[in-house]
């Protein structure tokens, strides 16, 4: 231990261009994300839960085929790609929700937020960098999950409801699964930044993604159908389905657009509060 502070050998300018600081920030946020074990675990859960539940649901569907109601059969046959992808992602997406919330609330609970804001006092920039890095990571892992998930699901369904990657809309749906998860990642970061407490934020986002959807389905008539259709997770996940279903009020890209808008509003609110609140 010495008491002499060595000057930094490579002179670093205290004035940096916007481009330089952006790259610095993204690297910094990437270091933050990769240096926590919860990242690795959550991503493993995303991959394994998605693959596992797709295998389980498609296998059960095939096993029960003889006793399945004709209406259900018709629904599956109309869009087997939705079944192959959707079954697993319904649960796998929760890992993205939890990790996205933790990426922010973990900073508040540990106090790292103060270190972060001392380093980057322009708070919205910090939030933007964090959301961007996390969204890119989730897009990549999401695709790495979606591709094998589709082929696994398709292989299991093959005997009764064949679907190919070259079928109309299927490739878009496989890419869309990653897109949906990437925007969901930003949505989760926004919820984390708004609520700032882990338990509350996780409850909040699970409520949005899992609870609200069946609740709104209970609403009567066309209003209920539209509210349900415009819910973030309902609208957003349409892009991960090859075809627009009979009950979908939006097309896949419309749905994705609605989800993006909702996410922009939410992250905007989070940025506004981050700026105005004491850290």
């Amino acid at each position: 231990m010495t008491t002499t502070l060595a000057p930094i050998r490579t002179p670093v300018s205290t004035v940096a261009s916007r481009g330089e600081t952006t790259v610095d920030l993204l690297r910094s946020e990437w270091t933050k994300i990769r240096s926590l074990r919860s990242t690795l675990w959550s991503l493993l859960v995303l991959v394994l839960a998605t693959l596992g539940f797709t295998a389980l649901f498609t296998a059960l569907t095939v096993a029960q085929w003889a006793t399945t109601a004709p209406a259900t059969k018709a629904q599956i046959l109309a869009d087997p790609g939705r079944m192959a992808l959707g079954a697993g992602f319904q649960l796998g997406q929760l890992a993205v929700c939890v990790l996205g919330v933790l990426v922010v609330t973990g900073e508040y609970s540990s106090g790292t937020i103060r270190a972060s804001l001392l380093a980057v006092p322009t708070r919205t920039t910090m939030l933007a960098a964090k959301a961007a890095v996390f969204a890119i990571l989730i897009f990549i892992v999401g695709e790495l999950t979606a591709i094998p998930t589709f082929f696994l699901g398709a292989a299991i369904l093959h005997s009764h409801a064949p679907v190919s990657i070259t079928d109309p809309g299927v490739l878009r749906a496989v890419i869309g699964a990653g897109l949906y998860l990437a925007v969901l990642a930003v949505f989760a970061v926004a919820i984390g930044a708004l609520i700032r407490h882990t338990a509350g934020a996780i409850t909040g986002i699970i409520g949005f993604v899992l609870v609200l959807s069946p609740l709104t389905q209970l609403l009567p008539g066309s209003i209920g159908k539209h509210i349900h259709g415009y819910l973030p997770s309902e609208a957003g996940s349409l892009v991960a389905s090859p075809h627009q279903g009979v009950n979908d009020v939006l097309t896949p890209w419309q749905g994705f657009g609605v989800f993006c808008l909702e996410t922009v509003v939410l992250i905007g609110a989070a940025a506004y509060l981050l700026r105005s609140r004491d850290a």
Partner: protein, 345 residues
């Protein structure tokens, strides 16, 4: 006492300027129109009782909290106007600002990257604070002292011109305290601006060249440490004699106030001493000679920083005086043993 700063050529003179700063939480005023300047090239101590607003003031300076009114600038700029702030200001505000699951190395690395600092700088500061061997351990396994060292490493990471440290010796062992004391003096002698809060008066007496004292969010004193002790303390005289009872009577008759006693056990010499106020040493000597009392010791005392501080911040409901120079009518009783200021140096 004005130390002549030895400036590194790369360092700029960067002052912290706080102007008319106020902040309230839930309607309660925590910082109340505070104004002061922290100069480079010396260690400035920031003193005040618990809840005086020291930490809040520091948080306002670095932009973590937003002031209700007034401003705080570093080198003339607001903290959020600095483009790579850790290169200008190093702050230790709270040892609890590291994720327990992240290693010390990775914590420093993400901060270094955010400032465009080279990776090698991380190892340098880890060496400096003595955490090199535990650099890859998760910070959750660290003791308070280790977290405090990590916080100091963070503050020094950007080789900053200004250091703002909130209670840096908290949790450090005696070796660590000695180390940080020298480190702070060293940093100041290089021309840096060093602003350190503490509730330990003794520590500030040894470390700080200047003091800023606040109570209830208001400025109480802003002067050199020496001047603070001199001005805010009444002088007293320690007298030891063969006949303490008679001496006491003589001194009281002459208008002296006996403000404390030292028993033989404490002084370790089998004699008794009294601490006298309102009479100077010369007068006491003459009185004793006149009464035929043998004096064994007759030494003027300077109140310690701690005493001066206690006096100033005592019952700070009534604080309205902006300076420390006016002695109040009601004095806090001086403790039995008044430590000469010289002994803490």
């Amino acid at each position: 006492m004005t130390p002549s700063p030895v400036r590194e050529h790369t360092l700029e003179k960067t002052m912290i300027e706080v102007h008319d700063l106020s902040k309230s939480y839930h309607g309660k005023l925590v910082v109340d129109r505070l104004s002061f300047t922290v100069q480079p090239g010396r260690v400035t101590g920031f003193l005040g009782p618990n809840g005086a607003g020291k930490s809040t003031t520091m948080r306002l300076i670095v932009g973590l909290d937003h002031p209700a009114s007034g401003s705080a600038t570093i080198g003339g700029r607001r903290y959020d106007q600095l483009s790579r702030p850790l290169r200008v200001v190093g702050a230790l505000l709270d040892a609890e600002s590291v994720h327990p699951g992240r290693s010390a190395h990775n914590h420093l690395l993400f901060l270094a990257q955010s400032q465009g600092l080279p990776r090698t700088r991380v190892s340098e500061v880890l060496d400096l604070v003595g955490l090199h061997d535990v650099a890859t351990d998760r910070a959750g396994t660290f003791s308070l002292g280790m977290r405090q060292r990590l916080g100091i490493a963070v503050a020094l990471l950007g080789d900053p011109e200004v250091l703002i440290l909130d209670e840096p010796i908290n949790g450090l062992d005696p070796d660590g305290i000695f180390w940080i004391r020298n480190l702070l003096k060293d940093l100041a002698s290089q021309g840096r601006t060093v602003f350190v809060s503490s509730h330990l008066m003794g520590e500030m007496a040894v470390t700080a060249d200047n003091l800023i004292v606040i109570g209830r969010g208001q400025l109480i004193a802003d002067c050199s440490t020496e001047k603070f002790i001199q001005h805010s303390s009444h002088k007293s005289v320690l007298v030891k004699s063969s006949d303490p009872d008679r001496l006491r009577a003589v001194l009281v008759d002459a208008g002296g106030q006996i403000s404390g006693e030292i028993s033989g056990q404490i002084s370790g010499q089998g004699d008794e001493g009294v601490v006298v106020r309102s009479l100077d040493a010369r007068h006491i000597g003459e009185l004793a000679a006149h009464a035929g009392i043998v004096l064994w010791e007759l030494s003027p005392q300077l109140a310690s920083l701690e005493e001066a501080f206690r006096e100033l911040t005592h019952d700070n409901r009534d604080f309205s005086a902006p300076t420390a120079a006016q002695p109040g009518a009601d004095r806090v009783p001086v403790p039995a043993i008044s430590e000469p200021a010289g002994s803490t140096r």
